[in-house]
């Protein structure tokens, strides 16, 4: 259980997010949405222990982040940053580095780490890519390799900052289905999504941010009903009931 208590944070002493309290739903797909520059990535960095808050506190199962050792935190929380630098490394070596937080000095990979690496590669159906270099893969394959690394890390909470950006729609859906399957295996996922359609389709719990503040925290239904989406994104949200449940789409405001 991850708890943010009145967190204010940013860079170089300038706050980007202000006074945010949030709690992620365990074993569920938590999705953070909001316009560009609203502080989504900043709050995720703070929640994932990458950026210390300027004030307030983050707690993991009741323990303050500041009292948890860096390495212990990395065993419990995995984080995939948005920045897409493409390392010149084979997929299996990348995935193996997911085991890094589990090593004690002098940090040599053990047989069990190799076994876990193989296992997660098979789980994600990318065992055939094991020996390929990351810089020769497509965007979707690369993202799956990174997810495999997060799985090898084996934390209960997984943070991902825009894992579907720059992917084709089929690969976007594939990644979302993988996240869904992880949820079913008990992982808590916290994901920033740029694409509202995907967010509305997959979120168990949605967090809406704007201008460094948390505006909404709750179910998709509640978000639709409160009308905040329309204000924040300057769109008109439409709901259609389908046999797959309610679906949402967005049209420009002035059309109505």
């Amino acid at each position: 259980m991850l708890n943010l208590k009145k967190v204010t944070g940013g860079y170089h002493g300038v706050p980007v997010v202000r006074d945010i309290s949030m709690q992620f739903m365990p074993g569920a797909l938590n999705i953070i949405i909001g316009p560009n520059g609203c502080g989504k990535s900043t709050i995720m960095r703070i929640a994932a222990g990458q950026l210390p808050p300027q004030s307030g506190e983050v707690q993991l199962d009741g323990e303050a982040f500041s009292t948890i050792k860096r390495q212990d935190l990395a065993r419990r929380i995995a984080y995939l940053p948005q920045s897409q630098n493409i390392p010149d490394i084979a997929v299996q070596n990348l995935v193996m580095h997911g085991r890094f937080p589990h090593l004690s000095y002098p940090r040599r990979y053990r047989k069990e780490d190799i076994a876990i690496t193989k296992q997660v590669l098979e789980q994600l159906g990318i065992a055939n890519l094991a020996e390929k270099q990351m810089n020769t893969l497509s965007g979707g394959e690369r993202q799956k390799a990174y997810i495999a690394m997060l799985l090898a890390q084996n934390g209960d909470i997984i943070f991902m900052d825009e894992p579907t950006t720059y992917l084709d729609i089929s690969h976007q859906l594939e990644i979302m289905e993988i996240l869904n399957s992880l949820k079913e295996r008990g992982k808590t996922l916290v994901v920033i999504l740029h694409d509202l359609n995907l967010a509305m389709r997959y979120a168990d719990r949605v967090f809406l941010m704007n201008g460094g503040n948390l505006l909404y925290d709750g179910s998709i239904d509640g978000l639709f009903n409160c009308g905040l989406l329309d204000d924040v994104f300057a769109v008109k949200t439409q709901r259609v009931e389908t046999e797959m449940g309610p679906q949402y789409y967005f049209i420009p405001k002035e059309h109505l």
């Binding site: 994932a48 990458q50 860096r70 390495q71 212990d72 935190l73 990395a74 065993r75 929380i77 995995a78 984080y79 995939l80 940053p81 920045s83 630098n85 390392p87 010149d88 490394i89 084979a90 070596n93 990348l94 580095h97 997911g98 890094f100 937080p101 090593l103 002098p106 940090r107 040599r108 990979y109 390929k132 270099q133 810089n135 020769t136 890390q153």
Partner: protein, 344 residues
């Protein structure tokens, strides 16, 4: 020529040879280079006359030349070559910049400036030189890293910052040498980089430090690999990024500073060897570090051999040979980087 073909493989993942074969070939080249360096020079020695001296049957000339002139010189080239190659590889990994090297980003000139300054201010304290060289290297690497961070750390910024810092420090060396002409005996040799006339007492104790520092870098191989995944990813894997960056840059400075303290401002090897090594064995530090050590040592001792026999009995500084070979290679790298569009 099989060996030449592996240099021309287009992509690093397209390894033509398994890493251990590359390492074995490297060791063989190293041995050939060392044996040739023992035999050739101002006076050519036949291995047979050396063996005769060793057995006590010769006049002892060959043995004396080897003991007092060639062995120290070979030790100096092996240590400096491997250290500069490893320093270059570490700096490139930590700064995540393929164009960085101790020579390019001014670490060597920093070491050289402080060493020259120490000679000018305390001419009697020869023991100070390695310490001053290390301090100069370390301060410079932190300075360039700091400038890179402050300006957003784009790859090209770090290189440009390094070039600027390197220029300032070279001017500093020239200034000191102009004011105190005796600051460096044979300052030309120092500035171009060379190991002529080096003695065992000039190489050690820095030599031990270099060996320990290379072992330490190898010990930290997994940390280097994780660090090269990027700061954010490394941090999320529980690595204390700041600490290890500082530690590794410190080791690189120790290696480069020690090399400069007895071999002068040898350029390009820290750039050349890691790049060749990466193409040969890929980016995994476990094999990349040994590859840098072996090929760095082999390459510098080979260049020194060329420097000694090209115009024998006259010789040119090895730094000159390196620059003539290294300059074109650097230009080639720049062109190749631009084609891939990753230097921005």
């Amino acid at each position: 020529m099989k060996f030449l073909r592996i240099f021309s493989t287009e992509k690093s993942h397209n390894k033509a040879l398994p890493p251990y074969v590359v390492l074995v070939i490297g060791v063989l080249l190293l041995l050939i280079s060392v044996i040739a360096s023992l035999c050739f020079g101002a006076a050519s020695l036949m291995p047979s006359s050396l063996l005769a001296d060793l057995a006590g049957r010769g006049d002892g000339t060959a043995l004396r030349i080897v003991q007092h002139i060639r062995l120290p010189r070979i030790a100096a080239t092996l240590l400096a070559g491997s250290s500069l190659a490893v320093a270059g590889m570490v700096i490139q990994s930590v700064l995540k910049n393929p164009l960085a090297s101790p020579g390019i980003i001014g670490v060597n000139s920093g070491a050289g400036f402080m060493a020259t300054l120490a000679c000018a201010l305390f001419p009697a304290q020869i023991k100070l030189i390695p310490i001053a060289a290390f301090l100069g290297a370390f301060i410079t690497v932190l300075l360039v890293y700091g400038i890179g961070c402050a300006t957003g750390a784009s790859r090209i910024t770090i290189v440009l910052a390094g070039v600027a810092v390197s220029g300032i420090l070279s001017a500093g060396i020239d200034t000191v040498v102009t004011i105190v002409p005796n600051a460096l005996t044979g300052s030309n040799m120092f500035r171009i980089g060379g190991v002529a006339g080096v003695t065992f007492s000039g190489i050690f104790p820095q030599g031990y430090i270099m060996i320990v520092a290379m072992a330490a870098v190898f010990f930290l191989r997994n940390e280097i690999d994780v660090l090269s995944l990027g700061k954010e990813t490394a941090k999320s894997l529980g690595l204390n990024v700041g600490l290890y960056q500082f530690l590794l840059l410190g080791l690189a400075a120790l290696l480069a500073g020690s090399a400069v303290s007895f071999a002068g401002l040898i350029s390009f090897i820290g750039l050349l060897i890691p790049h060749i090594a990466r193409r040969l064995v890929g980016t995994q530090s476990k094999v990349l570090i040994p590859c840098c050590i072996i090929y760095g040592a082999a390459f510098l001792s080979f260049c020194d051999l060329v420097a000694r026999i090209l115009f024998a009995p006259y010789e040119i500084p090895v730094g000159l040979v390196l620059s003539i070979l290294g300059g074109p290679f650097f230009i080639y790298l720049l062109m190749r980087q631009r084609k891939r569009g990753i230097n921005a």
